[in-house]
């Protein structure tokens, strides 16, 4: 496809708007920090980002306000992926292209989806745990919210993979609504019921990491991988604290969901849309694939590497680039 360029095209003075989905998650706060940085790099005239606080009604209000204020393209990350269709249609009528980050709207037209393959997250986590456990044992899974496509994708892929590849593993699915306290209580109960739990898959390290470690520490279960009491943990997101935990041997792996690339390519595609560029399915020049996910919606599936003790010090990982 096309390469990012800091060109002085028609987009130079066009305002590009970004709506942040929430202010209470480390992953998204990292994303928020990258936005102005990459906007400057790409010579983008960025409007003050708005924040919809996990509330679809706020997102709609923000989108309307931004378009009244003259946004030429909007980057958003609708966490509730069903409820944005009408807004997309309205923005479409006003010829304001939308780039959707992290999530894909269930319905409606967007210029590009910048995302990673969330099904692959579940798949990778399943394979990692399955191998470490040797295909048998008990695993707890902290599911994200069922009302978000990410929670569903990760849960479904994990379940399918476990069922087909590791039928000997019992999975306890814990609904958490992305809340750390809920995850902690569920794990506590599960450990009392099944002291022989050997693996944990947490779908968002940003919210589950600290509570899980704290609980395992108080149970004396935070022991090196060699110890038979060790509980194998796969996390997701790739924030600096997860890397730190991998280095200490407290958790075993995480999927680095690229907050930096999300910010970079969201802005890139927004600018490209204003400049009138178009894209086709196929591999990109930045090591990802553009996939047609149906209804003519294109999704740039950015690489989301599995991080283990082996590659945790890789400087290119975004979690190693910011303080924390």
């Amino acid at each position: 496809a096309e390469s990012p360029s800091g060109g002085e095209g028609s987009s130079a003075n066009s305002q590009i708007a970004v709506d942040l989905p929430r202010a209470d998650s480390d992953f998204w706060n990292s994303y928020a920090k990258y936005i102005p940085q990459f906007a400057q790099e790409q010579g983008i005239n960025l409007m003050t980002p708005t924040n919809s606080q996990n509330d679809i009604a706020k997102l709609v209000a923000n989108a309307q306000a931004l378009s009244s204020q003259g946004a030429k393209a909007i980057v958003m990350a609708p966490q509730d992926t069903g409820a944005i269709a009408t807004t997309l249609a309205q923005l479409g009528q006003k010829k304001i292209p939308v780039v959707s980050v992290d999530t894909r709207p269930d319905k409606g037209k967007v210029f590009m989806v910048v995302r990673a393959d969330n099904r692959a997250y579940g798949q990778k986590a399943c394979e990692f745990l399955g191998e470490k456990l040797g295909g048998k044992g008990k695993v707890v899974e902290f599911q994200g919210s069922l009302s978000s496509v990410n929670g569903r994708d990760r849960s479904e892929a994990f379940a399918e993979c476990m069922k087909s590849k590791f039928p000997g593993i019992t999975v306890f699915e814990e609904p958490t609504e992305w809340e750390g306290a809920k995850a902690s209580a569920a794990l506590q109960t599960r450990l009392a019921q099944h002291p022989d739990i050997k693996g944990i898959y947490m779908q968002a390290g940003g919210v589950f990491l600290a509570p899980t470690l704290q609980l395992l520490r108080s149970r004396n279960l935070l022991v090196p991988a060699a110890d038979p009491k060790h509980v194998f943990i796969v996390s997701n997101d790739g924030i600096p604290q997860e890397f730190e935990a991998i280095r200490k041997g407290e958790i075993d792996a995480t999927v680095s969901q690229p907050a930096d690339l999300y910010a970079k390519y969201a802005l890139f595609y927004a600018k490209a849309a204003v400049d009138g560029k178009t894209f086709q399915p196929g591999p990109t020049d930045h090591g990802s694939n553009i996939v047609d996910v149906g209804n003519g919606i294109l999704e740039d599936q950015l690489p989301a590497p599995l991080v283990t003790a082996a590659n945790v010090d890789d400087k290119t990982l975004w979690g190693n680039q910011i303080g924390g």
Binding site: A57, A61, A65, G82, I84, S145, L146, S147
Partner: protein, 345 residues
């Protein structure tokens, strides 16, 4: 000093004069209390215009109004219930469940329907009926079993939200019949239909609560249910009807939201109830029953909508926007109370 009785030897007027002054001032004061938020609204409009000229554009004004339509219907419902001396937390879950269940009953199983495949034309009536049924059930538990409204509707809030997640599996429903989408989208005479609807419903409700026997009886019940009963008002029936009307209004709010957002989100309505109470109470409706007006409540909705819109237009940093929003609400509230010079109950 002391009024000696010799001062007026001849028997004075047959009826002693009222100790207070003439009649009129008190009336005007009561009217003023309804208008307490009007200055706040004017200030906000001026601030908004200064922040960004876009604020006064027709498009922006229409957006603000349309975004507040669903909230305003819930506030209307809650205000009526509060005036009647009761409480309903479950309205916000009706906003989600009523359209979700109605849609699930009419769409094919393939699109996450329940497989009942009822005629899609029935979607709107079913939705409103579900709202009615929820209100009737709340009312039954509260009136027949004598349970507290707070706790009944808190329980129902959890149950209804749970049922919605249960029947939809937490999925958003987006294969919606056009009838369900219509109200939240249509334009009537150049304005969104939802704005017309809200305006009409508020107008009707204001007239009924102000100038009709049945409406006034809600104030009487909220003010003193025993006295209302002794005066011949069928208090249970009135309260029950109030809960049912509120349920229907919440279902309608759900329909509007569904149409506006183009789908039934699994979390539709979630978290709205706090804002609903904030708007009603800022608008002068008392949590103790029997006090407040629907016009005041409507002003409360408008104030919150304007604050939101201005903060967005002003590009306040995402990090601080919530704190600023809260402070403005607190200050608005204090001003509203201080200008009317009345302690609240």
């Amino acid at each position: 000093m002391t009024g000696t009785s010799t001062a007026s030897p001849a028997g004075v007027a047959k009826t002693p004069l009222p100790p207070g002054g003439p009649f009129r001032p008190r009336l005007r004061l009561a009217g003023l209390r309804d208008l307490a938020l009007v200055p706040a609204i004017l200030v906000l409009v001026v601030v908004g215009a200064l922040v960004d000229p876009v604020f006064l554009s027709t498009a922006n004004i229409i957006n603000v109004l349309q975004q507040q339509t669903e909230l305003s219907l819930l506030v209307l419902a809650e205000a009526i219930i509060l005036i009647g001396g009761k409480f309903d937390l479950s309205l916000e879950s009706t906003v989600g469940l009523a359209p979700a269940l109605a849609v699930a009953l009419v769409i094919p199983a393939a699109s996450n329907g329940l497989g009942t495949d009822w005629p899609t034309t029935l979607a709107i009536p079913i939705c409103l009926l579900i709202g009615l049924a929820i209100g009737a059930f709340n009312g039954m538990l509260i009136l027949r079993l004598g349970l507290s409204a707070f706790i009944v509707t808190l329980g129902m809030l959890i149950v209804l939200r749970g049922v919605q997640i249960g029947i939809t599996g937490g999925q958003n429903l987006f294969e919606l019949p056009p009838s369900v989408l219509y109200l939240g989208n249509a334009l009537w005479f150049g304005l969104p239909a939802s704005i017309w609807l809200c305006a009409a419903l508020f107008a009707v409700a204001i007239v009924v609560l102000g100038f009709f026997r049945h409406g006034r009886s809600i104030y009487a019940i909220g003010g003193n249910a025993d006295a209302a009963r002794a005066a011949g008002i069928r208090t249970d029936r009135v309260v029950w009807i109030v809960f049912m009307v509120a349920g229907v209004l919440a279902a309608l709010a759900g329909l509007l939201m569904t149409g506006r957002l183009g789908s039934v989100a699994a979390a539709q309505g979630q978290g709205m109830i706090f804002t609903v109470f904030a708007a009603a109470v800022i608008g002068g409706v008392s949590m103790d029953g029997g006090k407040g007006t629907l016009f005041g409540a409507l002003c409360g909705v408008v104030v919150l909508g304007l604050i939101n819109n201005i903060l967005t237009l002003a590009g306040v940093s995402a990090q601080w926007i919530q704190a600023i929003y809260g402070v403005i609400i607190l200050v608005a509230l204090m001003l509203a109370r201080i200008t009317t010079g009345k302690a609240q109950d």
